[in-house]
Symmetry: C2
Subunit: 391 residues, 2 copies
């Protein structure tokens, strides 16, 4: 037990408009924000070994409570020493609450004030998730940041449904806090865990305001923005963020859940968001799409057949140091599993570099100018616009 | 062009009965024999990045001419800088002739004295392979050791067929040698390539003798033993090796093609064989079977569910340094691609260690004693005996 260790600390370093850089300190080390968290869905960042993940510049990763509670189960993760030991990742981890996947992946769910009952998408088993069990499971997983159970209504939900979700989520946040306090804010392994609340409210500024007010009363270590990136599009997301992100306190980290599209992150950072997570770099990597500073490359494209240049000339990731576009194309066409791994590694490296450049721009007061240039460059190449496997 | 570089050299260091250790020197470095070559079928050792392959102790790898000539094609490999550059593997490479896969994988093949015509298993394209084109393709690939085109008759072939294959293979060896000499023994990239002949003859000692005599007349840098490990079983293979391996000259490397089962390698080493290749460590790794000094583990087995020990306590491979059996089991059940990669890395490390121990035993004159102990230990655990996915 390590009750003497520091709780989460969050120190803003530089500001540029509403954007800021900060240092987030967790029991497993420091995270420089704005930060992007790669997603380790079911106990691994798909195809990427932890040493390569570290080399890519990843500071903190996300684990999915929904997937881990179903398989191998929270008790097994705890027996294996917690998620850090299981994944061989000694740096910070955040686990989500499982709520989002319950609503997007599971079958025959029924929700009431107490919690949600659903059928596992793996074997149909009936599972009950309440604010208290959600805390207990995340305690077993042992992440540095844990998330409250929330209800994330679909993008098409009407105002009444969104309002109900806001109130239910706020009440669940209160119960999560109580369970967290009762456990001494400690993981099963004895590490301090920081509980974040989740703002809901859809596209409604006043419902997001109500959600924030209810959460901020609880005085939690951090707050997330939920219920965005559910199909509303870039402009609508920007409008909501611009109108509502200052509803969350400036002295706590703000985490925009499930967002990783570079233009969305640029807009969110400008609104004061500090943390992001998304499967984009790994999912697109598995589908042969590589991020570069000049836009995205489809590596299956015939134009690369005998191209000896790396994915990105200026990149020093493991893939670019060793392999040509021509080899990458061949490995994808031949179905060699090394290919998705290599492009995932490259994309994760790109995302780390991108966040690093964002932090540099904020510290120099140049975020707006640099953002425009990046957007022009990153979205200039349009050979992916209509590709099914992108995003 | 590097015409001044040394050709292949092969220096025997220690002998123990017919077994020997030796140093094989190639343009891309030294190989200590007996050596096991991991198989990089289509331009990658499946799932294993070259830095991990190096760390596993692999000294030399094999590339499959059949797969590479069909996709991406020999010309493309040459444009990409040859197989070493394409695979980011700067150590020695051997390419096979493609003949074995033509006979095992392709459709509608017709063979005559000039060569073989077949249909690609990928797209049905009609392809012609002759001794001369086989040399030309391997010249483009650029391996350090290249193999003659041979005819490998099936295990069930009768004596007449085997004898015809022996004579045809010998004639093809002569034509391969001529094409190789005409090319200055150099790859397209200008590196010296050593041509190996392939002994055939099935289970017949006298036909293997005829095959060897015909090949040895050509005075090639090395000789392979083909047409074994085609279903004849361990005892029959041992009988053939014991009766015929000394038909091949003691001052040249002897390479037993397609063999990697540890007990087969032990028997072959005792008969004076120096080199091996097999997909066993990577194929079994992908199927969750791990090699250990106490036998093989099936990592999907429920008994490992919360086991925090590594695959093999004494192993210092990347997988064993970082992951538990419990995590490995979970990653396989969850379908995470990291799992096959990690167990392939572990198995390759095991195979390197195994060959290293064999070399040590030979140098101490203890091969027979150690072989018995290894066989007892490696085959004691029988939880894999009937598994479809093993071997």
């Amino acid at each position: 037990m390590t009750r003497d260790q520091p709780m989460l600390s969050f120190e803003v370093i530089h500001s540029d408009g509403n954007a800021r850089t900060a240092r987030l300190l967790t029991p497993h080390g420091q995270v420089n924000t704005p930060a992007f968290m790669p997603v380790g869905t079911a106990g691994s960042v798909k195809g990427v070994a932890p040493d390569r993940l570290r080399e890519s510049g990843a500071q903190m990763i996300l684990g999915n409570t929904y997937h881990l509670m179903l398989r191998p189960g929270a008790a097994v993760v705890e027996q294996l020493g917690g998620l850090h030991a299981m994944m061989a990742w000694e740096k910070p981890i955040l686990t989500d609450s499982g709520g989002y996947q319950v609503f997007s992946l599971s079958h025959r769910r029924t929700i009431d004030e107490d919690g949600v009952v659903f059928r596992s998408h793996i074997d149909g088993a009936r599972v009950r998730l309440t604010p208290e069990s959600c805390m207990s499971i995340q305690r077993s997983l042992g992440a540095d940041v844990i998330m409250q159970l929330d209800e994330c209504p679909p993008g098409c939900a009407d105002r009444r449904e969104v309002q109900a979700a806001v109130r239910r989520s706020a009440e669940w946040a209160r119960r999560c806090k109580q369970a967290w306090i009762d456990a001494g804010c400690l993981s099963a392994g004895g590490n301090y865990q920081a509980l974040f609340g989740i703002q809901q409210g859809g596209s409604s500024v006043d419902l997001r305001g109500e959600s924030s007010s209810r959460l901020v009363e609880l005085d939690l270590p951090g707050y997330a923005i939920g219920g965005l990136s559910v199909g509303e599009g870039h402009e609508a997301m920007c409008d909501v963020l611009a109108a509502t992100s200052d509803q969350l306190p400036a002295d706590r980290p703000r985490y925009l859940m499930g967002v990783g599209e570079p233009r969305d992150m640029l807009a969110a950072v400008a609104c004061g968001v500090d943390m992001f997570d998304c499967v984009l770099p790994t999912r697109n990597g598995r589908n042969a799409q590589a991020f570069t500073w000049q836009g995205r490359l489809r590596l299956r494209n015939a134009r690369w057949i005998s191209d000896r240049s790396p994915i990105d000339e200026g990149c020093d990731c493991y893939a670019c140091r060793n392999f040509s576009r021509g080899t990458m194309r061949h490995l994808f066409l031949a179905g060699e599993m090394l290919a998705p791994t290599l492009v995932s590694v490259h994309n994760l490296h790109f995302f780390s570099q991108f966040m690093s450049e964002i932090r540099n721009a904020i510290s120099r007061g140049e975020l707006a100018k640099r953002s425009r240039a990046w957007q022009d460059a990153l979205y200039a190449r349009n050979d992916c616009e209509n590709a099914d496997d992108c995003d």
